[in-house]
């Protein structure tokens, strides 16, 4: 009796696991930000407390911000899976207690450099920010 009940629980939990896995694939495939083809001109401003802002113009065919930044060798950091955690921008490293905040025309982005699709005329800012 207990064995039967246990088997039912295993089958039920396996079904839930498979349904969730399929749902994740569906959501990721349909809702992950998509890039667009073609040439774009974007601007990246690097802002630090100690220096005047540096404006960098990038002409690129990249679909995502990361590729465009890499073309100018602008960012370095640590990879977590497929995503880059930005630790250095334009040769300036975020020391302990600081981080690079990424905004688009002043608004905090909901995505990282790898998952931010770019459009012609976009303006991004990397701001060296102290962790509160």
């Amino acid at each position: 009796m207990d064995k039967k009940l246990s088997n039912k629980k295993i089958i039920a939990s396996a079904s839930v696991l498979i349904v969730i896995l399929l749902a994740l694939f569906f959501v990721y495939h349909n809702f992950f930000p998509k890039g667009t083809e073609g040439e774009k001109n974007i601007t990246v401003t690097v802002i630090t407390p100690d220096h005047d802002p540096t404006e960098i113009k990038i002409k690129t065919n990249a679909e995502f911000l990361r590729q465009a930044l890499d073309e100018k060798n602008l960012v370095q950091g640590t990879m977590y899976g497929d995503f880059l955690m930005v630790e250095e921008v334009n040769g300036i490293k975020a020391e302990e207690g600081w981080w690079w905040s990424l905004t688009k025309e002043g608004l905090m982005l909901e995505t990282g450099v790898d998952s931010t699709p770019i459009l012609d005329g976009d303006h991004y800012e990397f701001t060296l920010t102290e962790i509160n």
Binding site: S6, K9, S13, L17, I20, Y28, G81, M108, E110
Partner: protein, 160 residues
């Protein structure tokens, strides 16, 4: 609470932190989920205190960020789920539960983002993290399937 209970709580809290730090270099591969499951099955309500120690120590080690807000509820959700199936001892069953927990981990972590940036921000946070959640779920499933039985016997001895 007996002295032995306090010793078990302190030791399990320390073990959780040690294993979390030891596996921190592997993104989304962790033993904490398995240990929370085992702790709930073996040490029962003591797990509430074990998790409190774990969460506080993690905050001391890594600093108090948004992730720490997640920690305040996310491990207790797993504890609560485990209490619902407290008589179940099948490693296959717990591997499934651990796998499901890993798959929905990002979704649960996105909850504070609703209050910070709205549903759009929380949804975006969750979607870009889905590959991590899938890795987390698969890793949890395998780790629990392999280690549930041996670790259960070791920890069960501590409770006698």
């Amino acid at each position: 609470m007996k002295v032995k209970d306090m010793a078990v709580i302190a030791m399990m809290g320390a073990i959780l932190v040690t294993l979390q730090v030891a596996f921190a270099f592997l993104p989304n591969v962790e033993l904490v989920s398995l240990l929370v499951i085992l702790s709930t099955l073996i040490f029962k309500r003591k797990t509430i205190f074990i998790l409190a120690i774990f969460i506080c120590l993690e905050g001391f080690i890594y600093g108090l960020g948004l992730w720490w807000i997640n920690y305040l509820y996310i491990w207790y959700i797993l504890y609560f789920i485990c209490t619902l199936f407290k008589n179940e001892r099948s490693s296959w069953f717990w591997a499934m539960i651990s796998g499901i927990y890993g798959l929905v981990y990002g979704l649960l972590c996105s909850i504070p983002n609703i209050f910070i940036g709205g549903f759009g921000a929380a949804f975006a946070y969750w979607v870009v993290g889905i590959p991590f959640d899938i890795t987390h779920g698969i890793a949890n499933f395998i780790i629990t399937l392999i280690l549930f039985k041996p670790l259960y016997h070791i920890l069960n001895r501590l409770n006698k």
